[in-house]
Each structure stands twice: as C-alpha cells, then as structure tokens.
Subunit: 198 residues, 2 copies
C-alpha cells in the first residue's frame, strides 16, 4: 500500500526543502492532510503567492514592504554610504551590530562561474549606475568571506575603481569570543595581518 498520488507528489516537493528528508516530508504531508483544510489552504496560498507578495526595493533590491524600502527612504541614514551584500539575510546581522548607518545594495548572490552565476545575473549594473549618478562617497563591500564572495568583491572593486569612490571591504579576523587554540590558521593569519595599534 502506498499513499495517494497527491500526497506523494507533495512529499517529493517538500523533500527538496533544506533540512527536510524523505521521511519527514511524508510526515509533514500527512500532518498537512490532518490539519483543518482552511489552515492548509492558507499556508499553501501564502507559499504560492510569496514571490508576488514580497516587494523588492527598486533602489537597493532588498526585500521590502514598500518601494523604496524603509532604509532607502530613511533621511537619518547616510545616503553617501552604500554597503554591498549578497542577499537580504546578510543585512540582518549588520543592522543588529549597530555599526552601520548607511544604505545597502543587494546583489542577489555572488559571482560563481561554476554555478553559472555571472555579473549580469546580479544587480551589478544597478550598483554601477547608482554610483555613477553621484553623491556616493564610500562603498563597503560586505559580500561573504568565501571564495565566491571574495571574487565578487574583487570584481566590484575593479568595476568601481574608475568612479573614484572610496572602496572598503569588511575586516577579516578572529570572531569575538573565539579561542585562538581552535581557530583555523587562515583566519588567524588574516587576523595577524589585519592587526591594529592599541
């Protein structure tokens, strides 16, 4: 005996989500079937309409409730400072840090020829246009400190250099609270290179 087709189809779709294996996908599908139909319908419609419901700011490309987004339209944030990130989730820890009061630019990923992601697939042109329109003093490149993030940072630095704008990269170093003993040598090496006067 196998479960009905619509249930198996849903299980197979659910199992593509991160952290959901085949067994828990079946368990979830059965749970959805036991839920009141109205609740399952609400959840389903919320997923189906997600892409259309979530607005993207036409200036910084962050996901937003309105366009321009709350950060881009906030006069108390420094308009001459742009922080470039790969995705909307990267903005959360930066905002939480309280160390940044400028605006953002969301690339929508990192350059990765192996995955077929080229500069034209990201919001790179829009960043160059933003800088070209003037009024920008500094671009902080905060792409991830991974191979893809680093090549994206180099690429952006090259493309932005001619504009004469100040280009910075977030610092490499030891994470706060980390033990030197357990840190990987590349991080320790970068932390040593980046040492500052006390």
């Amino acid at each position: 005996m196998s479960y009905p087709k619509p249930l198996r189809r849903l299980s197979s779709l659910l199992s593509r989500l991160p952290g959901i294996g085949e067994k828990s996908a079946t368990r979830l599908a059965l749970h959805l079937l036991r839920m009141p139909p109205s609740v399952a319908r609400e959840l389903g419609e919320s997923i189906a309409s997600l892409h259309n419901a979530v607005i993207r700011c036409s200036t910084c490309f962050n996901i937003a409730d309105e366009d321009p987004c709350a950060v881009c339209s906030d006069p108390s944030r420094r308009a001459e400072l742009i922080c470039v990130v790969e995705g909307p989730t990267d903005i959360v820890p930066i905002e939480k840090s309280g160390e940044y009061r400028g605006r953002y630019h969301v690339l929508g990923g990192a350059i990765s020829p192996i995955d077929g992601v080229m500069p034209d697939d990201l919001h790179v042109k829009e960043l160059l246009d933003r800088v070209a329109r003037g009024g920008i003093e500094e671009v902080v490149i905060a792409t991830n400190l991974t191979a893809e993030g680093e090549s994206t940072a180099s690429f952006l630095a090259g493309a932005l250099r001619p504009s004469g704008v100040r280009l910075t990269r977030i610092a490499y170093g030891m994470p706060v609270g980390a033990d030197l003993e357990y840190a990987d040598e590349v991080t320790v090496g970068r932390a040593m290179k980046g040492r500052r006067e006390m």
Copy 2:
C-alpha cells in the same frame, strides 16, 4: 530591520508545523523566496489543493487514489474481516507486517472527550452500518495502545457486541528486539499476562 510582512506571515504559518521552530520557519520562508517562483508556486498549490485532491474511500475512509480504494476493491482480500484503525498511517505498518489480508476501517482519530472528540466525530456510525449490512465475521480493533485508543476500543466493543460478530484486539506485549531490562513494567506485565504455549 524586520523582514517584509508576507515573509513574516509565511514564517508564522510554517512554525505551526511539527518539528519546525521559529528560526527554521524563517529560514524555510527565505529559502522559498530564493527558489524559482514556479517551484514555490507548485509547492504552494500542492498544499492548498491537498484536501480536495486526496480522495477518501467511501467504504473504509482510508485516503486513496480512487473510490473504492485499492484494498476495498481487491477481490483477493478477505471481505469478511475488518481491521479498525485510528488513521491512514496506522495501515502502513500492518500492511508491511504481511500478517493481515482483510480490509480496513479508518476511524479518523480516537475518542477523547478532553480534546472534544466524541464518537460522532469519527467514522463509528459507518462502521456499525458496515457490520449491520452483514457478511462480516470478525472485527480486529487496532486502535493505538494508548489511553484514547483503549477507550475507543472499549467503546467499539460495546457498540459492536450486539451484532454477534467476533471482536478481537491486537496483542499487547514486548516489541520484537526489545531488552527486558529496559522495558517498562506495564508492557512487561501485559506480555506476561498474554503469554502463550510454546
């Protein structure tokens, strides 16, 4: 900075699913937003339409691809034998055991006054009707071996007794492969009471 409203709404709906906490709900919602819109739409519509797409057998109330279900319409299965279970998932292990070649009756839950589930909320009347129509020799009550499952079994036994049909209950005992040392005393007690000639 907080995520846009449609995303937060989806997270809150996802966090009601079993095994999905608040953090993983947000992570899932963001992942869905990163997926191709067509894939997210397919998943969403599959959830939204689930209750309408899954057919229930009008004889045994199991979820099915067609009505009557494959078991009820299989002439090689003993029609005079009905196994009563709480839900469709309970049928899977019974089928896997290979020890049962009769048909089923899915109650849709167990009687639980505390949760407001009374006999009228389950497919109890339909079971009595099935037995009353004749041709049934034995009803195996395979509700769970929990407080709710046990009271449901007693209730059904009382309701079916007048029909004169043979009533059986699946056996309590030690799970196969279990260590006596680690078994709970209630299970061991039941296994002792249910001991059989060798």
